[in-house]
């Protein structure tokens, strides 16, 4: 009982985070019909800056890290990415009114990762003084790529089976390549490489890092506005998407939290790391996932998966998921 109360208190405290405030602010002004527009160039630039910031920092951390420590968390990240898609395949994609390939694509998007959600969690952890290995954000691609690849492969298998006859093999490398070449992963990997191989400390500390928090606030605002704007799109598809999008971020996060806890026991994975792993799992991709899926599963209706992710999945992941996983971590690890 006491524990529950403690948990609730911590949970509620997280709501005062400015990241959440900007997200909710964006939803409110969109709902009120505001004509405020953040130029697309600024949005793209802010995302780029976030990913470079995460990448460079991760790269510099890996330089000094014991690579062995990364192994288990990375494996768990990949495992979670696949698990999410498989669970979606046998739940959402089977539901009445949900076209199978639309359901699979949605599961793929929820298995993939959102850089802004990740960044919001990093800022909130910092505010709470909860430490994590600096390479944890670099687990991003380990979860993102397997999830997208598996979703596309499953959709392909399903569609081919339906058409019968046709049984050409699904080729995996083109999907991985497409994913790596997307703007999000290539910025992150570029940052990683720069952090790992060169000495960008000065430009990191004088530019990428100090602008991080501010640009994140702007991204949160945009995500909030987008979430509201796209609600319409979601309304036109089956209600199951709404249910899935509300439940999945939390369920996925809890699965990842459990696996992260195992890694904590096994190799001393940090509490902050466990929380971030849960956030990665709970987040759904907003930038590079959609085009990859659009090209990989062209028959799937983008309104279903983008609507579910942008208008419900992401707000739930940020506004409920992150506070939940942090509060859980504080209780579990007694920090």
């Amino acid at each position: 009982m006491d524990l529950l109360l403690d948990f609730l208190t911590r949970f509620v405290t997280q709501f005062q985070s400015p990241s959440l405030a900007f997200l909710i602010g964006g939803m409110v002004i969109a709902a009120l019909g505001s004509k405020l527009e953040i130029p697309d160039a600024i949005y793209k630039f802010a995302v780029f800056m976030l990913l470079m910031r995460i990448g460079i920092d991760g790269g510099m951390a890996i330089r000094e890290a014991d690579l062995g420590d990364m192994l288990l968390p990375a494996a768990f990240a990949a495992l979670v990415g696949c698990l999410i898609v498989l669970v979606g395949r046998v739940t959402l994609a089977m539901l009445p009114g949900v076209k199978t390939e639309d359901g699979i694509a949605t599961a793929g998007l929820f298995g993939a990762v959102s850089a802004s959600t990740l960044a919001a969690a990093m800022v909130m952890l910092e505010a709470d003084g909860i430490a994590y290995e600096a390479w944890v954000p670099a687990l991003y691609p380990f979860m993102d790529i397997p999830a997208l690849v598996l979703a596309i492969v499953l959709a392909d298998l399903y569609l081919k089976k339906r058409k019968a006859g046709a049984d050409a093999k699904v080729r995996i490398w083109p999907i991985v390549k497409e994913s790596l070449q997307g703007s999000a992963l290539s910025a992150l990997l570029l940052g990683l490489a720069l952090g790992l191989l060169t000495r960008p400390d000065q430009v990191f500390e004088g530019f990428y890092d100090p602008l991080f928090r501010g640009l994140l606030s702007i991204l949160m605002l945009i995500m909030g506005m987008e979430a509201y704007t796209r609600l319409n799109e979601l309304r036109r598809v089956a209600h199951w998407y709404g249910v899935y999008a509300a439940v999945a971020p939390l369920a996925h996060g809890l699965i990842a939290f459990g696996l992260g806890y195992l890694a904590h026991l096994a190799t001393g994975f940090s509490p902050g790391g466990v929380i971030l792993l849960a956030v990665l799992a709970g987040s759904s991709s907003d930038i590079s996932g959609p085009p990859t899926l659009r090209a990989g599963i062209p028959t799937a209706n983008p309104s279903s998966y983008i609507g579910a992710s942008t208008s419900i999945g992401t707000p739930v992941a940020i506004a409920i998921g992150i506070p939940l996983f942090i509060a859980l971590g504080q209780i579990v690890f007694d920090i």
Partner: protein
């Protein structure tokens, strides 16, 4: 002195631009012109310019001038066949007059 030519217009999702361009080139057209566009059709609104979290889904309008009507038809048909089952898009033809037919 002008010569008759046919203009093919294709309005579709930006994400398939490369594929459409390939079809145009393989059909033997001498070039094409592309313009960023927004729009509304059977598959909903596509914005352009404003910060869309998923910008890849805004529209592009592509024009091809061809000196032969057959080439124009072929381009329109092939683009429609290759993409319009899964991607939103429309295509139409117009008669135009060009000054230097050898350009096309």
């Amino acid at each position: 002195m002008t010569y008759k030519a046919t203009k093919v217009v294709i309005i579709t999702e930006k994400i398939i631009f490369d594929g459409v361009a390939r079809i145009i080139e393989e059909a033997g057209a001498s070039g094409y012109t592309a313009v960023a566009a927004g729009g509304k059709g059977s598959r909903g609104v596509r914005s352009s310019g404003r910060p869309a979290v998923v910008d890849a889904f805004s529209n592009i309008k592509i024009e091809v001038i061809t000196s032969s009507r057959e080439m124009a038809d072929r381009i329109a048909d092939e683009v429609a066949a290759a993409y319009f089952e899964n991607y939103s898009g429309i295509t139409y033809l117009e008669e135009v007059e060009v000054l230097r037919p050898q350009k096309f």
